[in-house]
Every structure is written in structure tokens, then in C-alpha cells.
Amino acid sequence: MRDLFRFLWRSRSTLLFIGLMVLSFLWLANGNDHHRAQTFTSSQAAIGTLYGWRDQVVRYTDLDGENEILAAAQAEMMNRMRSSYLNSSAPFVVVNDTLLQQQYKYISTRVLNSTTSKQKNFLTLDKGSKAGLAAGMGVIAANGIVGVVRECSPRFSTVTSVLNSSWNISVLNPRTEHFGLLNWDTADPTTARVKDIPKHARIVVGDTIVTGGDDRVFPKGVPVGVVESVVNDDGAVALDIIVRLSHDMTRIGHVWVVTDLLKLERDTLEAKLDAE
């Protein structure tokens, strides 16, 4: 017995090494567990604060590009305003529109920190549950989708980026009405792959890909990217499509978080189906 203890004591470094490696692999294996991340919210708030300071210093360096994107977005919005349309039927002014109910609400936030060089990239936003953000909400920028909210502390949120190999989002080619799954496995921050579009679909280079809207993260029709290459391989069951993402993920400052105001109602209704 004493020999055993002596042996254990002599190889304590190796045993500690093995123990720590097992710990790190367990951590890796539970890496995407939402509940694990929840326990770190206080440290997340401290890290968010630090990244906030960094952003205050760095944000000025990209103001030119930022202004350009915001101006373009504003122009786009102004084009949609009622005042930009000529009323062709002047006597019939709609006073209270009861046919249209607002379904999506947009919350403007700033990106405090973002990565594009990892296999699994994340962003940190400067608003959290106090501003009405919650896990599962979509995040879009002026030119297209950015990601989905992963978790919220009261004043910060983390976002799973489009550039995250473990995240899929339903996309649609509006010209042919074919649905597919967008997944980032190209290891290139400007492109992503679309899977599961059947081989008979006539997708051509230059087609616009938008969000499908059926997974309740984004509204239908938010720009995702433009088809850059289509490969119809004999052995494959679906087309292999590469799209060029419409928003440059390496330059990101202002984003909008999308809230689906009718999500609760729909989820409650569908939960009854699951209960049966």
C-alpha cells in the first residue's frame, strides 16, 4: 500500500496532466450545451464590459465604412416610406390599417466584439434581456443576416455568427422557390455553403438567396447571399452550392435584432400539438 502511494506521489505530475486533459476534453464535449454557458453569465458580463471599452477605442477607425452602410440602409428605408409613394387614388386615404398587423420589431444594437477567424465564431452585442433581447432571435445587418442570439445577460448578449460551422439556417431561392440549409463550412469568412437543394432545381450563378422564414428566426426574404458556384456532382444527392454572403462579416458595427411579435402565439399553439 505504501509503495502504491509512493508511486502515485512520484507520478503526480503525469496524473495531474491526465486529469487536466480529461477536464479539457469534457469541457470540449459539453461545449455547445446552453446550460453550461448560463453558469458563466457573471464572467460574461465582465468580459462584455472589457470588450465594450475596446469598442469605444476602435469604433472610430471604421466610421467611414460604417456611415456608408448606414446611409445605404437609410436610403433603402426611405424608399419604402409612404411619403415616397404617389397616392394614385387620392379620395380613398387609409386612416387606420387594420389589415396589416406588425409582426416583426427591430432593435438597434452595436457589436462590441466579433471574430471571423475561428471555426465557431461569435459576436457580443451591447444590449441584453433588459432591452428585450432573448435567445433565438435573429440578428441582421444592413446588407444581410449576421447570426442568431445565443444567450443574454441583463446588459449584453452573445450571438452565434453565420460563420459558425455548427449552425444551420433555412434559406430559400425565391426565383425557383427551393428551400435549402445554409451552413458555413468553407473556412472563408466571405462565403458559405447551401445544402439540400435537390439536383433537378435549376439554380444558376448569380441567383439571390434569402432566408426561408420557416424556422422563425428571421422574417422571410432577408438577403443572405448570391450564388457563386453550383456543382452538380453525379454521386451526390443534392446540389453543392457556394454563396457569397451579402454582408461582409469582417466589417460589422451596427446590427438589428429581429423580434417576432407573433412567435409566442404560434409556439403556444404548436406546443399543444406536441402535447398530444
Binding site: 505530475s13 496532466f17 486533459m21 477536464l23 479539457s24 470540449l28 471574430t115 477567424s117 471555426q119 461569435f122
Partner: protein, 173 residues
């Protein structure tokens, strides 16, 4: 006491430099990422026992993991590197052993020694980190190339840091 303090300061400065600057460099579309923070583990004093180097290595990696929201990848890579450090130090030991109470720097050990030391340790950390990040072997040449190029950059940065801080110390003396 001064050794502890200088190590704590080195830790804070290196981690801050890593998460605030180096992680955002996006060199070659993020293909190459220097991880300078490993210098902290390399510059721990010689006489520190292996078990405490291991614990400090794991803690350093875990700190990086919190900052970059990666699950345990840096922690694993740093532990492997801390474990390898003992072997590498034994391999590079001068004939009359290491001096007590000094850290491995250019001043104490010389330029060639530090270069060999980093050339042995940094690739171990980078290869482990990049491969656990990808977590598959089907893009082996690409990941291997990324890790080695990044290691080259890290070693260059380490030598730069050593030369800059070394000159200050000499002035003070």
C-alpha cells in the same frame, strides 16, 4: 514576491494584448492567428515544479477560453504545452544546470537558446489548438499549414517582445 508580481503583470498584459489586439488582426482572412499569450507559460521561473506549471497553464488557457467563448480548446492546448515544457527544459539544460530564481529570457539564456526553446514549444501548442478547433482530419494539410505558419508568427513576436523588454532591463541595470 517581485517574481510573483512580475508574472501577474505579464499574465494580465499578455492576455489583454491577445484578446484586444491579436485576436482581431485577421491576417490573410483569419488564416493565420498568432497566439502570443503562451509566452506567459514559457517565461515562468525555471524552478517552478511541474504540477504548478500544469495548473497555471490550464488556468491561462481557461482564461482565453472565457474570452473567446471556446469550450476548453485553449485550456487543453496550454496543458499539453505546460507538460511538454518540463521535457523541453530537461532537453535544453546547460551542463551546470539552471540558475535558481531566473526566468527564461534572452538575457539569462541567450538568443539561440530562447529561439530553440520557442521553436520546440510553440508548435506543440498551436498544432493541438488548431486541430481541436477543427476537430477532424479531412482538411489535414490546411490545418497543419495554418498551425505552423501561425507558430512561425508567434515565435517572431516572442523574439520581438524579448528584444524590446530585454533592452529596458539592461538600461535599468
Amino acid at each position: 514576491m517581485i517574481t510573483v508580481l512580475s508574472n501577474v503583470i505579464r499574465f494580465v498584459v499578455l492576455i489583454a494584448l491577445q484578446v484586444l489586439l491579436l485576436d482581431h488582426m485577421d491576417l490573410a482572412n483569419g488564416w493565420v492567428v498568432p497566439y502570443l499569450y503562451v509566452l506567459f507559460i514559457m517565461m515562468l521561473p525555471f524552478e517552478l515544479p511541474t504540477w504548478s506549471v500544469l495548473l497555471l497553464g490550464f488556468a491561462t488557457g481557461a482564461t482565453m477560453d472565457f474570452f473567446s467563448s471556446t469550450p476548453g480548446m485553449h485550456a487543453g492546448a496550454c496543458t499539453v504545452m505546460a507538460f511538454a515544457r518540463t521535457g523541453v527544459l530537461r532537453l535544453l539544460e546547460p551542463r551546470d544546470g539552471y540558475e535558481f530564481g531566473v526566468a527564461p529570457t534572452v538575457q539569462t539564456m541567450g538568443l539561440v537558446w530562447v529561439l530553440t526553446y520557442s521553436a520546440l514549444l510553440v508548435p506543440i501548442h498551436h498544432l493541438w489548438l488548431f486541430f481541436t478547433e477543427v476537430f477532424r482530419f479531412d482538411r489535414f494539410p490546411e490545418t497543419f499549414g495554418r498551425a505552423l505558419l501561425s507558430a512561425l508568427l508567434t515565435i517572431t513576436l516572442i523574439m520581438l517582445v524579448q528584444l524590446i523588454t530585454g533592452r529596458q532591463e539592461r538600461k535599468r541595470a
